[in-house]
Amino acid sequence: MALLRVEHMTHYFGGLRAVSDYNLEMEPGQILGLIGPNGAGKTTVFNLLTGIYRPSEGRILLDGEDITGLAPHRIAARGLGRTFQNLCLWRHMTVLDHVRMAHYAKISYGLLGAFFGTAERYRQEAEIERRSRELLELVGIGHLADQGVLNLPYGAQRRVEMARALAVEPKVLFLDEPTVGMTPEELSQMMNIIRQLHERLGLAIFLIEHRLKMVMELCHRIQTLVFGEVIAEGTPAEIQGNPQVIEAYLGKETVE
């Protein structure tokens, strides 16, 4: 059974059809790429799958359970972690606090524990801190744990988002253009991290990316989205040779 399955998802913004008849079958451990020109609706697809928008039509199934229309925090807690295209960090919080926060759904000491500082609270908070530090080590910024996020270089901020997304213990990790604006050096580091995460944690990863080189190297399968419609889906080799994809990216070849 597919880990993440989307059936006939369509979404309208007012009268505009942003996504039409989108289908997806994602297996555990798969790396899937979503490419397409600017404004094709890639981020909208992410926002629909993570519950920020509610699809106008269609169903989303995670592990066979229907998650269509659930609140984003519930969907996230069921195992969808994500990063954002334009960093969405909490400006007054430290790196460590970012990762701790993503454990919100897992804490169970309740408000009584929060107000009166029960032993259970300190036990759980210590456990969360330990796990958070591990995740920070995993993405290679363990030494920055106590810094405020605003002071960090761009690449490190991206990694904070990554660690934070991992803290929800995702079954599928959604990465929305994880390398946008990165230097070539930061880019290759990020690719290594994604590869490592995939190998070590066996995560299914859903990747929106503009840099075709990266998509071709990393992904097992690729979908191409143009004007809200999937025009091609297949292995990197298939996509590379697909005339429709080439046309969407480079325009029609006209021979006079």
Binding site: H73, C88, W90, D97
Partner: protein, 447 residues
């Protein structure tokens, strides 16, 4: 004075007093108030002050300034001898407070650092009890010297609780709520209803209904009842306003404040605009100290937990918080209800300190005061709330003789703070009890 002189003087004080732990300061303060109790009145006579200065001499000085202003602008009679009060009050401040506090803090620094280190190894309760005990002893002695001090201290402590409870919403959660005096009013009225209605014979509310055998529980129960009623009122604001965002909460909560106020003005059963009087005299200093201490402790516990930090996440980026499994609606609701609860408790305390309440006490003026305390002291900070409430509260009292000028000076200060520190004096700082009570390393000395 040149810059280097400045640095030398600052360095001198840093070297003199830098390594003193909280314990040392509390000992110093206790020593100072004991000295004042012993020699305050004769010393004031020697310094030709009419009586012992009640608020560290600031009140005395502002009285002199007020007299000068009245003489210049209103041709009031002026006795030049009054000018002596300014250096006399300063001398009193230095002799009774500054010098003894500095001396005791310095001399005891090594011993109190050692004590703080030793206590740090035990359960947090031990150092907390010692510090709170010392603080209470000092405040009790200080307030015991004049009724004016006692009531000022009580009201300041209540203001600290109120400020902190508003800081949860306006600082930690980053919304702008204006209904806090309304919640306070609900708490004040409901707890008064509880105590006056149930346990006291009263003109408006009738004879005592209940004789309760465990009567030491009366007041805590009344406060909790008041707080819970305030939370219910908060729910009425939260349900419609949380569907919208940003400025709407400010507008809705402001409207709510007016509704509450006019509700109490028109409920003849609760005394109408004359309000309720004759609350039993249960709000003694130790009770208020304990309740405010409990409030600060539990709110601090809350805001340092992951549940509480979720408020910061909601404030800084709600979408990201939601995507990271934070139930943002629940988090906001909790913060709002908890803030209202403690505002209600503060209202209950105030009602039993003043022993009368009327709706006019909980109007826009109160709102301005508590907002000033929050934003002056610092957003997102327990320290900030304490600093804000104490400084604005004491300043308001000390500048009272200046009358209308007081309403220029305090807002001016607020504007200056907003320009140079837009989030307040001590904003965004975690209040770590263990660190606050721990030993301090002296400058230039290794740990």
């Amino acid at each position: 004075m040149s810059g280097t002189d400045h640095a030398t003087i600052a360095n001198f004080f840093r070297r003199l007093l830098g390594g003193v732990p909280l314990l040392g300061w509390l000992l110093g303060f206790l020593a100072a108030v004991l000295i004042e109790q012993a020699v305050g009145t004769p010393l004031a006579q020697i310094l030709s002050l009419p009586k012992m200065p009640v608020l560290f001499g600031i009140l005395t000085i502002s009285k002199v300034i007020a007299a000068v202003i009245n003489a210049v602008f209103k041709d009031a009679a002026f006795d030049p001898a009054i000018l002596v009060h300014v250096p006399a009050a300063l001398a009193y401040l230095a002799l009774v407070y500054l010098a003894p506090i500095a001396a005791v803090a310095r001399i005891s620094a090594r011993a109190s650092n050692r004590a703080a280190t030793a206590m740090g190894r035990w359960n947090l309760l031990v150092p907390a009890a010692v510090h709170l005990g010392l603080m209470y002893a000092a405040l009790h002695t200080w307030a015991g010297m004049s009724d004016y001090r006692l009531i000022t201290l009580k009201i300041t402590l209540i203001a600290v609780l109120l400020t902190l409870s508003l800081n949860i919403i306006n600082g930690y959660m980053g919304e702008f709520s204006c209904s806090h005096p309304g919640f306070m009013a609900v708490g004040a009225y409901m707890s008064s209803l509880f105590t006056v209605g149930l346990f006291v014979d009263d003109k408006v509310l009738g004879k005592a209904l209940v004789v309760f055998s465990l009567d030491f529980l009366n007041f805590p129960l009344a406060l909790i009842f008041g707080g819970l009623c305030a939370s219910v009122a908060a729910l009425l604001v939260a349900i419609p306003s949380f569907k919208t965002r940003g400025d709407y909460l400010a507008i809705i909560s402001l409207a709510f404040l007016f509704i509450i106020k006019s509700l109490f003005e028109n409920l003849q059963g609760l005394g109408g605009s004359r309000g309720i009087a004759g609350q039993p005299d249960w709000a003694a200093l130790p009770v208020i100290f304990a309740v405010v201490g409990l409030g600060i402790w539990s709110i601090n516990n809350f805001v340092t937990s992951t549940y509480g930090k979720a408020l910061n996440a909601v404030r800084d980026d709600e979408l990201a918080a939601e995507a990271m499994t934070v139930n943002t609606r629940q988090a906001k609701m909790t913060a709002f209800l908890v803030g209202a609860f403690w505002a209600g408790v503060a209202g209950g305390l105030l009602a039993h300190v003043l022993r009368y309440i009327n709706p006019a006490m909980f109007g826009i003026q109160k709102l301005a005061e508590v907002l000033a305390m929050v934003y002056f002291g610092g957003l997102n900070s327990v320290y900030g709330s304490i600093v804000g409430a104490v400084s604005i509260g004491l300043l308001g009292e000390a500048l009272r003789p200046l009358e209308i000028l007081k309403w220029i000076i305090i807002p001016l200060l607020l504007i200056l703070v907003m320009i140079y520190r837009p989030t307040g004096l001590v904003a965004f700082r975690d209040f770590d009890l263990r660190e606050a009570m721990g030993p301090k390393t002296e400058p230039g000395q290794r740990k």
